[in-house]
């Protein structure tokens, strides 16, 4: 029983491995070129199923794009040339990591801006609190008469 359970669990995890979309027939003979192709493919968005890279996607268009990447690499293109070609057809949207440029400034700097705002707000808040505390400490001193009365109250038992 336990053995079976273990086996079932093992099989379950085996099935959880990411399915490789790259068909063995697509793989290039040159391992260095193939590695570059995989690298490029991982950064390119599949335009059909938009949250997958073409390396992960089983869509036909993704396959055709993978083949195109490999074809261009074999023809001697640099990685940048290949990516630039695809971007020239589909726009920056195909890049899973958006480039840093004017149109994407808000995207890249937005989070930093919000963290900065939060820090400024927190700083202002704590400074004000400290100032408020300082104010309470610096409450007007008691006059001699008041001091005496206070002493009496503390010493005496309500007399």
């Amino acid at each position: 029983m336990l053995k079976r359970l273990l086996l079932a669990t093992a099989l379950l995890f085996a099935a959880l491995q990411p399915a490789l979309a790259v068909d063995p027939a697509e793989v290039l003979d040159d391992p260095a070129l193939e590695a570059r192709a995989r690298d490029i493919s991982k950064g390119l968005r599949c335009v059909v199923c938009q949250n997958q890279s073409i390396d992960d996607s089983d869509a036909t268009l993704a396959r055709d794009l993978r083949l195109l990447v490999r074809e261009r690499l074999t023809a001697g293109d640099s990685n940048k040339q290949v990516v630039d070609y695809v971007v020239s057809r589909y726009g920056d949207f195909v890049l899973l990591k958006p480039p840093f440029k004017f149109a994407t400034l808000a995207l890249w700097l937005g989070p930093l801006l919000f963290v900065a705002l939060a820090l400024i707000a927190a700083f202002a808040f704590f400074r004000r609190q400290r100032a408020a505390r300082a104010e309470t400490v610096a409450a007007p001193a008691l006059s001699d008469e008041q001091k005496k009365r206070l002493d009496d109250l503390l010493k005496g038992d309500g007399s």
């Binding site: 059909v48 938009q50 268009l61 055709d64 057809r89 726009g91």
Partner: protein
């Protein structure tokens, strides 16, 4: 306290963000920008599909007249919806329509489809490996490109062409391009 208005800043930021994100919700992520707008058609030279003679479809065929380039496939359901309208445009002689038969696994499927539903195309090229489709930046079928007399892409329509798209977008653009073309004969005109 005199800087009470400071408290409204987060609210203002929230509202601005909300408006932007709200606009974002109305956009369709499937509608990719036309990267080729105003650019010459990419170079391609596709072989013919079966039963359509020896002439395929190449980028050089696109000079001379305003044309539509329609990416279709026999597997594509929306193309089937679009097809009668393309037939109608052909009957009216509105504009030459060229076809790119995209991603047919069976080379007979495209010709069979055209035989069954009618053939609205002047030229048809076979693109089983998405060569031309990727060059055009196609993400799905059908897509239709409006190409001017000099072979420059002027408009891309994603999805089926129908009466609304034709009357409101394509026809006015075509008329305008034809007017400009005949008026200036290739020079820049200021009409």
């Amino acid at each position: 306290m005199n800087n009470r208005w400071l408290y409204s800043i987060p609210l203002a930021i929230f509202c601005v963000l909300g408006i932007y994100l709200g606009i974002g919700l109305t956009l369709d992520p499937k509608q990719l920008p036309n990267m080729l707008d105003g650019q010459p058609v990419p170079a391609f030279d596709l072989p013919p599909i079966k039963d359509r003679g020896a002439k395929g479809f190449a980028s050089t065929d696109l000079e001379g007249d305003v044309t539509l380039v329609n990416i279709f496939g026999s597997w594509c359901v929306a193309c089937r919806t679009e097809h009668p309208y393309l037939m109608k445009l052909k009957e009216q002689g509105a504009v030459p329509i060229h076809g790119i038969d995209w991603r047919e696994e069976d080379p007979d499927a495209g010709p069979r489809w055209l035989k069954r539903f009618g053939d609205p195309y002047t030229l048809v090229g076979d693109d089983p490996r998405s060569k031309a489709a990727i060059a055009f930046g196609v993400t799905g079928a059908p897509e239709t490109f409006l190409v001017d007399q000099k072979g420059v892409i002027r408009y891309k329509h994603i999805g089926p062409v129908n009466d609304e798209v034709w009357k409101e977008v394509l026809q006015p653009l075509i008329q305008q391009l034809r007017r400009n073309g005949s008026q200036t004969g290739g020079q820049k005109g200021g009409s």
